[in-house]
């Protein structure tokens, strides 16, 4: 089966987020970059499904030239080829992102049985790109999945809910968004990394449409600096802690 995984390059924030002076972006000068955790699990799932059922996998990203690093990372753990939709680094809103992805899929010589996304991206968290892509392509979309199994042309998907799991069964081709925890992504081998350097990446530069959900500026939430009441140091603090717990009513 042919599987497409869509990923996004995001910074690795630490304990505190700092903004650029113009409030248009996070200050990433000393930050490393990675892929949203849900999406990394999506790539791992794609690789496992191809290992099980044969076929090939593709990783796609809409992002700046540096995002090639993320494509190569996914190819290092086993994805076969990459698609890089180049941007200049500015944000694209969910509708624009979905439209660019749809165009790339339509223009691709390969037909995909499964298109995997993360449930939401780590940074913008818009929760909608996959759904919009599915609508544009006339495909069913299942969200927030923690287990996938394929049987012939049917995909069985499990979603965690209170009290258990809800199960969906859809026919391929389908769009599925996954959540971290569906698997544990493998650690890349060095031969894998070296091979990844030579795997093909198709690069194109889609035209950026007008933003419908237009970011005006970024703002740090208030109250991000509380003054914690220090109950004590070490084991001596235990009585004070228990007092607090009693006041709350949990002891």
């Amino acid at each position: 089966m042919n599987i497409l995984v869509c990923v996004k390059r995001v910074p690795l924030t630490g304990g505190k987020i700092n903004l650029t002076p113009d409030e248009q972006a996070i200050q990433t000068r000393h930050l490393g970059f990675t892929i949203s955790p849900h999406e990394e699990c999506g790539a791992e799932e794609a690789i496992r499904l191809v290992e099980q059922h044969g076929g090939s996998s593709t990783v796609l990203t809409l992002g700046p030239p540096e995002a090639e690093e993320q494509l190569r990372d996914m190819m290092a753990i086993g994805i076969d080829r990459g698609i890089h939709l180049l941007t200049d680094g500015t944000e694209w809103d969910p509708q624009a992102t979905a439209a660019a992805i749809v165009e790339a899929i339509r223009g691709d010589e390969q037909a995909y049985d499964l298109i995997l996304f993360g449930n939401e991206s780590a940074d913008a968290g818009n929760y909608q790109v996959a759904i919009r892509v599915a609508h544009a392509l006339g495909l069913p979309c299942v969200n927030g999945i923690k287990a996938i199994s394929v049987d012939g042309d049917r995909v069985r998907c499990e979603q965690e809910v209170a009290g258990g799991r809800d199960v969906y069964v859809v026919a391929v081709p389908a769009v599925v968004t996954v959540k971290e925890g569906i698997n544990l992504p493998r650690y890349p081998s060095v031969p894998g990394r070296l091979r990844a350097k030579r795997k093909p990446v198709a690069v194109s530069t889609p035209a950026r449409p007008e933003s419908r959900l237009e970011m005006v500026r970024l703002v740090l939430p208030e109250g991000s600096s509380k003054q914690a009441e220090v109950l004590g140091r070490g084991a001596e603090a235990a009585p004070s802690v228990v007092q607090v717990l009693q006041e709350i009513g949990v002891v």
């Binding site: 630490g14 304990g15 927030g144 971290e180 419908r212 237009e214 970024l218 509380k226 004590g232």
Partner: protein, 290 residues
């Protein structure tokens, strides 16, 4: 008029969404989908779209839950309109402006929404839940296409794990890197059991293989809202804090007085969890007279 999609009238987050809408000082109409209908996101969205076309609301709101966001995103795709997920506040206008959550809550975005109706889901725990008032139950629409109906719940698998669930627990005791090993969680489990709570952990712990992902609290794990969250040996990375923002109170136990978690904590104990946590457990037993 604001149309509010209520995922579950008994759920706190749906109640918060209604309260959020009420704060807009417009007429509101709260709807939910037929309880008997199995969940089918596109079908439910189509049902809402039918009501939207009927009633032409200025805005459509939903709780920022997994399903609330999912259904609303389908609505946005069906209508070809932008959708702003997890909003903290709204300023009506042309275009409307929202303040919405990024990075699980560690950052906010001010965005202009160029679309109508204004589609937005409400961020959790921004507005207190109020009485939900009247909620109309809509039957599933007959307009749902074959494609719409393809994605629906066909089976429910009951949970195999016993014990308190993270999402329901009043008390969650979590361990991070500082715990040091899988066995080290014994003291955390002990305290959680004494308090009738659940055990959580940070992403570093699941990556290290010490606890399953189902215990992970964080932006890509479970988002919890207990009465008190006790974070042991957790430094306070933003992706973890995104998971516990809903906690009413946060007690942080960490040997590093400068750890960033203390900036979000209500109570602090500076010390090693391997000393502090057993001491708390012992003190609880003593207080209970045993």
């Amino acid at each position: 008029m604001i149309l509010v999609f209520v995922e579950d009238p008994t759920d706190e987050l749906s109640q918060q969404a209604v309260a959020f809408a009420r704060g807009m000082e417009e007429e509101i109409e709260a709807v939910t989908i037929d309880e008997g209908a199995e969940y089918a996101p596109a079908t439910w969205a189509r049902t809402l779209v039918a009501r939207i076309e009927q009633r032409s609301p200025s805005a459509v709101m939903a709780p920022g839950t997994d399903r609330g966001n999912e259904v609303l995103a389908h609505v946005g795709a069906m209508l070809g309109q932008p959708m702003a997920a997890n909003c903290v506040s709204v300023t009506p206008g042309d275009p409307a402006s929202v303040l919405r959550v990024r990075w699980g809550g560690s950052l906010l975005e001010e965005a202009a929404v160029h679309g109508a109706p204004l589609l937005l889901s409400t961020a959790a725990h921004v507005v207190a839940a109020g009485p939900i008032g009247d909620v109309e139950t809509l039957p599933v629409t007959a307009d749902a296409s074959e494609l719409d109906q393809m994605v629906r719940v066909v089976e429910r698998v009951p949970a195999t794990t016993a014990g308190v669930s993270l999402t329901d627990a009043d008390v969650v005791v979590s361990g991070g890197r500082g715990v040091g090993s899988a066995e080290g969680f014994a003291v955390i489990e002990e305290l959680a059991e004494l308090l009738g709570g659940a055990v959580g952990c940070s992403r570093a712990v699941t990556s290290a293989g010490w606890r399953p992902h189902s215990d992970q609290v964080g932006q890509t794990g479970t988002k919890i809202s207990p009465e008190i969250y006790i974070a042991c040996g957790i430094s306070g990375a933003t992706q973890h804090m995104a998971g516990c923002k809903g906690a009413k109170r946060l007690l942080a136990i960490n040997p590093d007085g400068e750890a960033s978690i203390f900036a979000s904590a209500d109570y602090a104990v500076i010390g090693d969890l391997h000393e502090v946590v057993p001491a708390i457990s012992a003190e609880i037993r003593r207080a209970r007279g045993g």
